[in-house]
């Protein structure tokens, strides 16, 4: 064991989310899932889940009704591109600004 008189400051990191802060703020567009087209949501069965598989950031849940964590979703659009039934649309963040439209 090291001598207790020594603090031994070392760059040793412990894990947690949000190292880059709220990466949801990176988005220009956000994914919106149309549950009426989403295959697992429609059938009530666990199937497909490609949005969950391909999400680089682990913000899509592996669920029959998938949910996207908008705190961290970077808006890359891979889920929308890969959805086999085009159930995900990338909608401009402008639509979600309170009051709508430009600032």
């Amino acid at each position: 064991m090291p001598d207790p008189r020594f603090k031994i400051l070392t760059s040793a990191s412990t894990s947690g989310p949000g190292d880059a802060g709220r990466t949801g703020s990176w988005r220009v567009e956000r994914p919106v899932i149309d549950l009426s087209r989403c295959t697992p949501a429609k059938t009530g069965k666990s199937c497909c889940h490609l949005c969950w598989l391909y999400c680089p950031d682990n913000v899509v849940s592996k669920a029959i009704e998938p949910v996207i964590d908008l705190e961290y979703c970077k808006g890359c659009g891979i889920c929308a591109e890969e959805c086999p039934v085009e159930a995900i649309a990338m909608i401009s963040e402008e639509q979600f600004v309170e009051g709508g439209g430009h600032e």
Binding site: S11, A12, S13, T14, S15, G16, P17, G18, D19, A20, G21, R22, T23, W26, S46, C47, C48, H49, L50, W52, L53, Y54, C55, P56, D57, N58, V59, K62, D69, E71, Y72, K74, G75, C76, G77, I78, A80, E81, E82, M90
Partner: protein, 303 residues
Amino acid sequence: MTTNAKTTVLNLTAEEFVHPGNRACSGCGLSVLYRIGTKALGRDCIFVVPPSCLTVMQGLYPIAASQLPILNGTFASTAAIATGVRAAMKRLGKKTQVVAWAGDGGTSDIGIQSLSGALERNEDFIYICYDNEAYMNTGVQRSGTTPQGGLTTTTPYAGKKEHSKNVPGIVAAHNPAYVATCSASYPLDFHDKLLRAKQIRGLKYIHIQTPCPPGWGCDERMTIKIGKAAVDCGLFDLYEIEDGRKVLSEPSRRLLDKSKQHPVRDYLKMQVRFKALSEAQIEAIQQRTDRKWDAYRQEFAEQ
């Protein structure tokens, strides 16, 4: 000798080993492969990482986005450091899996000496090269694996003159225990090859092509599609080599049927980095690819 598991999206574990909100670019191919790869490796691992995109993605001190123990080290010595960790595990009697994750620079250029040494000693760890085909972490400079014609900041007008290094081939010439090529766009194939690698003793090398939207010049949403296009046109092949025997993996094996081989142009045109290629150069690339696949068709006639 090919991968035995057949993981599907349904039976792939929902356990996650990386936290969201990390510093990887939006749409990063490395993010996809690292996320799925760690599912195959599990928690009893120690990772060794040189300066690279993964250095940044894993987090800045004191917050780590990756939940596994990572030892960062100097650029040229990834395989040497992994050797040291492996030796320590042996002395301590631990079965902890040692995995090196390095980019193409840290593998084929500055890192090739220590990799060659570790290969020659057949060190017992997994070495993963995630190849985004340029020095992406420092802003897209050309590397040994940048394809011919690729525009980068250091090949800014006419694109890279030279061919890319065949790194899996160089590795295979050392006769390690296992060599495999993968694509970030086929993460389940990568996942299962890691499961296979875990069962083998000796150095297991996996080379995984990693689409990079900012570096390759494409929309972030196209990451998966571009990687698939590289495989579909036969420019990047997925295979495994064990005991000197090469076997094509499923997504590439399809191309043994020539009608399934897409034109290279379809892949090249998706990316701004190839916009300087002339028609003659594209034709030359097509011919080289055709020759490679004709040879494969002869070699793997029975597969």
